[in-house]
Symmetry: C2
DNA sequence: TGAGATACCTAGTCCTCTTAGGTATAGTCT
DNA sequence: AGACTATACCTAAGAGGACTAGGTATCTCA
């Protein structure tokens, strides 16, 4: 179980990262995160949709309703140009914090 | 400027890490974090003291008042045995999330 | 005397996850 | 046909923690 705080910190970078790979929709995003985390991160809809709407309000993602080949109506989200910039900032912030933690831990680790 | 969420996620692991290096007190902890982060992380007292008291309530840190050589009264905090275990859990959770993000970013990075 | 660093603390506000619900469609099994 | 599951969207109330802004006190130096 991941702590609430770590989930909160990773929501934006992860969400932006998933959408950077291409247009997607709510349910598929949850599956993608589950897959990327090796089953560790089970995002709830109650956190995903508000998060998506926040990013949309901020102009980082764009959305449109589309009917898939199977006939299902879905709301597809994709990154805006600002969204891509925001992702780079998120990455850089995360890596900076990661460096700080490695320093605190004594730099005994090497991730590949 | 680090986001509120990233600060929240790193508070516990960083605080436990700093105290794992030895007994310390509020002001010194803030300085230590500032130093470890290369000046990036400026913890406020308004977040540090409540955080310390939380960890104390949870039994992860112990505290005692002590008068230093210079004659200043300070409250020194140190890790308990449970605190050390908690630190290991925090580390492992952080690294797990880090792996997930690297996966999402395409594993283009190698940190040393 | 005054300023600044050191040293502790708390209250109100804001933000976001969590829990727990609601609605609807498509496919499958009996 | 009816029931169940997976898919698919959404929101509201509660809780937890950082941020802002305040309070108190001591020590040093000009």
């Amino acid at each position: 179980m991941t702590t609430r705080e770590l989930v909160a910190a990773s929501t934006r970078p992860l969400l932006l990262s998933v959408l950077a790979r291409g247009e997607s929709y709510g349910y598929a995003i949850i599956q993608a995160v589950l897959d990327l985390s090796g089953g560790e991160l089970e995002w709830s809809e109650g956190m995903l949709y508000p998060a998506l709407h926040r990013l949309e309000r901020e102009g980082l993602v764009l959305s449109r309703w589309k009917t898939s080949d199977e006939g299902r109506k879905r709301k597809y989200y994709r990154l805006s140009a600002n969204g891509r910039k925001a992702l780079e900032k998120e990455k850089s912030q995360w890596l900076s914090m990661h460096e700080t933690l490695l320093a605190a831990w004594g730099r005994v680790l090497c991730l590949s």
